[in-house]
């Protein structure tokens, strides 16, 4: 009974908007798996919706529709890239979803092409029903949009795993993983230099708060052996924004 009350109040406060960022993120994640919580959220949304009647309708600026349409164009263009033949179905679907985000992401930054740079778009998906699924992160090579690395991060344990997809060890060069987040200031921070087998220690992110990780962007740059001599990526700065992937099958409608 008390549990139900608690869940109902969690749903109510989520809808009301009074939870803090971490709690909100947790509820948003949990409702994907918890039908009861999701139903309670919808019930509270229906209950409180008339409060919004009094909100003054305000027309957005005339340019906004064009901005939105441009983004959708980018999304759609990227989505038409045929999927990888290899990989399991689920992974392929994820890759497509990630690609779409990459187009989306690119559109908002206008980042210059730099062949040596590998762009990273980081996506942490809600946990699947499958117990072995972990929140998902992918990294894309910018020039050909083939994933160079896939990175998965388990937010609870803050463990990461890097898997090369098309990336291969380079003679006399090292790959270096960076993290960037508002809370860390304007510059990327090094997470670590990848080992010769392109792996990283699983605990490389253990010092970071999960909430920060969720909003962070990751990048990989190609550096001199042993990593960047300057403490910053030696290519252009890497920026990005985090989007959760869609877990539902509907997201695969392309």
């Amino acid at each position: 009974m008390t549990d139900h009350d608690d869940i109902d109040m969690l749903a109510a406060e989520y809808v009301l908007g009074t939870l803090d960022a971490e709690e909100r993120a947790e509820v948003a994640r949990r409702r994907q798996q918890d039908a009861d919580l999701d139903a309670r959220i919808l019930a509270w949304e229906a209950r409180l919706a008339p409060l919004g009647d009094e909100i003054e309708a305000i027309a957005p600026g005339p340019d906004l529709l064009a901005r939105i349409e441009r983004r959708i164009d980018e999304l759609e263009t990227t989505a038409r890239t045929p999927p990888e033949p290899e990989g399991d179905t689920d992974g392929t679907a994820q890759v497509i979803a990630l690609r779409r985000r990459l187009g989306f992401w690119r559109g908002c930054t206008g980042l210059a092409t730099a062949a040596a740079l590998i762009l990273a778009v980081v996506l942490i998906a809600p946990l699947d029903d499958r117990s072995d699924a972990s929140p998902f992160v992918a990294i894309f090579q910018q020039d050909d949009q083939q994933p160079a690395f896939m990175l998965s991060v388990d937010l609870d344990s803050r463990r990461l795993s890097v898997q090369p997809v098309t990336a291969e060890p380079l003679p006399d060069r090292s790959y270096q993983l960076w993290i960037k987040a508002d809370a860390l200031g304007p510059k990327p921070r090094s997470v670590g230099v990848l080992n010769d087998d392109l792996s990283l220690p699983a605990d490389a992110l253990s010092d970071y708060d999960p909430e920060l990780l969720k909003r962070a962007t990751f990048g990989i740059s190609i550096e001199p052996p042993g990593g960047s001599p300057t403490g910053q990526p030696t290519g252009p700065a890497i920026h990005g924004y985090l989007y959760p992937t869609d877990r539902d099958p509907a997201s695969q409608h392309l």
């Binding site: 109902d8 109040m9 109510a12 406060e13 809808v15 009301l16 908007g17 009074t18 939870l19 803090d20 960022a21 909100r24 948003a28 919808l42 949304e45 229906a46 209950r47 409180l48 919706a49 008339p50 409060l51 919004g52 009647d53 009094e54 909100i55 003054e56 309708a57 305000i58 027309a59 957005p60 600026g61 906004l64 529709l65 901005r67 939105i68 349409e69 983004r71 959708i72 999304l75 759609e76 779409r100 989306f104 508002d182 909003r215 869609d246 539902d248 509907a250 997201s251 409608h253």
Partner: protein, 200 residues
């Protein structure tokens, strides 16, 4: 409080059947958008952007931030239109929920400067054209407002400031000069009271 005028809003009668026709139209547009119909998307934007923009701007108070969030919101609507389920929510309620959550998430990520509570509460008036836009049927709106009226004034203000202006527990605690836990308790009591009052 100056709220009384809002509740009696006579235009609800006129708006009721019109709003369900509008709901059908939005539903139809969402169905077409799910099939990647860009013209339907433009029509949906034209029909709903003032509502969503007003909702987001009220929470964020800055046009630049509201632009960014509303942009994300419509991209989300484009992407998730196939997931819209008419059994679970009305089209406009579904879209407003996406917009409110996006605005509140943005606000929690980067809180704005200290609030001007007087100004926020002064937004109360309701007899604009927007009052004709109903998220729910007239009956639901009347019942909610009657139930809100039954709350203690401070708790009613808390609910409104949170829902409409995106205030966090901490914001409310500062303004009402109460510990955060007290605010939480009050909110829970207010919400439970509302739920009980609205129960059939």
């Amino acid at each position: 409080m100056a709220d009384a005028s809002r509740r009696s809003a006579p235009q609800r009668e006129a708006g009721s059947s019109a709003s369900s026709a509008a709901g059908d139209r939005l539903h139809d547009l969402l169905r077409r958008i799910a099939q990647r119909d860009r013209r339907a998307f433009t029509q949906l934007y034209e029909a709903t952007s003032a509502k969503l923009y007003g909702t987001v701007l009220r929470i964020l108070k800055e046009r630049g931030r509201a632009d960014d969030v509303v942009q994300e919101v419509y991209v989300t609507i484009w992407q998730k239109s196939a997931q819209f389920d008419t059994q679970r929510a009305s089209p406009i309620a579904w879209m407003v929920a996406i917009a409110r959550h996006a605005a509140i998430d943005e606000l929690r990520r980067r809180p704005r400067a200290p609030h001007e509570p007087e100004e926020a509460l002064a937004h109360t008036p309701a007899d604009g054209p927007s009052a004709r836009e109903h998220l729910e049927h007239e009956q639901d709106a009347r019942r909610l407002h009657a139930c809100l009226e039954a709350l203690e004034a401070e708790r009613r203000d808390m609910v409104r400031l949170a829902y409409l202006d995106g205030w966090s527990r901490a914001d409310l605690a500062t303004h009402f000069e109460q510990p955060v836990n007290t605010v939480k308790t009050w909110l829970h009591r207010a919400l439970k009271q509302l739920k009980g009052c609205l129960a059939p």
